[in-house]
Symmetry: C2
Subunit: 181 residues, 2 copies
Amino acid sequence: MLDRSEFKRAQRRALEFFAKARIALTPEETKSIEVADFGLGDLAHTGLEVVVYINTERYCAKEIVIFPRQTCPEHYHPDVNEEPGKQETFRCRWGIVYLYVPGEQTPRPHSVPPPGKEKYYTVYHEILLRPGQQYTLPPRTLHWFQGGVKGAVVSEFSSRSTDDNDVFTDPSIERKTRIKP
Amino acid sequence: MLDRSEFKRAQRRALEFFAKARIALTPEETKSIEVADFGLGDLAHTGLEVVVYINTERYCAKEIVIFPRQTCPEHYHPDVNEEPGKQETFRCRWGIVYLYVPGEQTPRPHSVPPPGKEKYYTVYHEILLRPGQQYTLPPRTLHWFQGGVKGAVVSEFSSRSTDDNDVFTDPSIERKTRIKP
């Protein structure tokens, strides 16, 4: 659960990052920036700020802000009905993002999981993305990512997005953000 | 056909537009900017400069530079085998782009077709896109677009891209650019 004031503050802060990255939004997009707290109410450690540009049955494009050291928690995109799990490409536009995927554990990763949540982070092969660099995840691949000390702005290009189907390693996570009335 | 020097000049000029739009490219992308002359050898009027970020069986993302008053000629994306024609979203990142689609003819459109090519331009419903604005085309929709007086940088998000299948109104167009040896 998020306080309305906290939600609004995160939206305003996200706008500062879009401005740093020189990414133009329409007034409607500006007002409807999605703030995802993953049900944990701890945006300082776990969260994402998102503008969905387009999401059709065939493809999806989003712009994501990750605050400094904010983490998108570990999850994967399962097959849904007959459709293979979401395939996605992360392209760093501004700042640095550390992406973690299955594979050989990176000896000294740049990120640590949010405090108290260590056991829900199981993949530690680090992909470092600077502006202009990108990485494509196959469907059904566990992953998590964290913004560097200055945060990051990342484009996500993918097949259709159905966030409600995402499977998180942390069972206490809810993908839908609820705002305190 | 394009002279190699002209091709290189267009690549360098495209880089200036990516810089104006503050869009970061990797050194590899910088070297491999696609210059499309559509077989007409007249980049001043007809052409596109493109970086393909990703093109999988499911989705595609590109960044497109349109020089001032340069035109992407009228075409549509047909169904290919069992796959419906490419669906695409154009999002203006920098400058102004005028997009033309079927529908009521705009009384005084901002663009005119390249000289001598008027008869191959048949749709004149104008969509004006400024930075942050976007438009999604259904499959099989005739369209063409032209950069404004300062040119434009446009993101294209779409289903899988198979440029070779595009159907152009001008029968003399070849999608593949050939460079003079």
